[in-house]
């Protein structure tokens, strides 16, 4: 029971997907200007990533590996993710219109996001079992949300600050991300994995 927990913390904090693997940078630069949209994006992503981690793991272990179709992994994962996001969208639309209103516009964005495919590929590369992979996906989503929330808070402050013209927009966000990555490096001693 300890290992899944370690994997969770590693994915969320010490090996934060945005700040150490650089995955999911597009929403990080695009959606992070407002706290409210950061929360929506974070929840939608966490949900999709947890589901993705479970389903890609099952597909990988029950279909692809027994049939020696490992080389199709990438293509299969992409389709699984695309179908999954469509499916989640339909279910949420039926089950909870209010939740759909909050997450709806973010869901299609997540399909083509490298963070979801990266998660599936990293999980498969490290040979996680189903439980470990579930925690891995959930942790990665939580880490994504944390980083997105932190940066959106800072960016809301930046709106009223005097930033050099050439650094406005993406460069200053990347600079802040760099400083945040410094800060997150400080956590790297608390657990060891691999």
């Amino acid at each position: 029971m300890v290992r899944p927990l370690i994997i969770f913390i590693a994915a969320a904090i010490t090996n934060n997907f945005i700040l150490t693997y650089f995955l999911g940078l597009c929403p990080f630069l695009g959606v992070s200007a407002k706290v409210s949209s950061a929360i929506g994006m974070g929840f939608a992503a966490t949900f999709v990533m947890t589901m993705t981690a479970i389903i890609t793991n099952v597909v990988d272990h029950l279909i692809l590996r027994p049939l020696h179709l490992d080389f199709l992994q990438m293509i299969v994962f992409i389709f699984v993710i695309a179908v999954l996001v469509q499916f989640v969208e339909m279910v949420i639309k039926k089950a909870s219109p209010s939740l759909y209103k909050a997450l709806g516009i973010f869901l299609p964005l997540i399909t083509t996001n490298c963070i979801v495919l990266g998660l599936a590929l990293l999980g498969a590369m490290r040979n996680y079992n189903l439980i470990e992979n579930t925690f891995f996906g959930f942790g990665a989503g939580v880490g994504f949300t944390i980083a997105l929330l932190l940066i959106s808070g800072i960016r809301e402050e930046l709106e009223v600050r005097d930033v050099p013209k050439a650094l406005k927009g993406a460069p200053i966000t990347l600079l802040i991300a760099g400083l945040m990555a410094f800060a997150f490096m400080g956590f790297s001693g608390i657990i060891t994995l691999q």
Binding site: G24, M74, I75, I78, G118, L122, L174, F182
Partner: protein
Amino acid sequence: MASNNRNLGFEFFKGFFKENPVLVQLLGLCSVLAVSNTVVNSISMGIAVLFVLFFSSFVIGLVKDLIPSEVRIPAFIVVIATFVTIADLFLKAKFPDISKALGPYIPLIVVNCIILGRQEAFTKKNKLLPSIMDALGMSAGYLIAILLMGIIREILGFGSILGFRIFGSSFKPILVMILPPGAFLTLAMLIGFMNFITRKE
């Protein structure tokens, strides 16, 4: 004919500077940040992207009229994924060290916005030859950007280029430049510098 040639030249060279996919359009940043810690990794990644973008644009340029526009994106992704798989398996077989260093970022070329973005924005509505020039120019722009990152980070982080030490033994490498924060800082400075130059014109 002359204007045609000039157009082809324009499609090729616009990716270098004016419409640089990384530094101006801010696409495909994941891999640029992740694998640019040494010059060798940068070049390998750049060539992999060049290979995938060139062949995807070529194949999609050939078959685009046969694909109904409702299913074009899945179709494009299958074409792209095929070439990414080829690149991935080739690297794994011939250059296992590089494949290990680049890790998941080679398969992740599939979802790299540059590749699908060029198909949607250019190949879809242009003829084959301009599309190929565009693909070559864009991947050259990507290569330039990731190479710049690689050179800066390897010099500062290891004190070397391509593994050759260029400073004396008294040079203390700035280790953080090869770690994730260094990637963010370097890219931020490069994009800022790019904004600074283009704003003046």
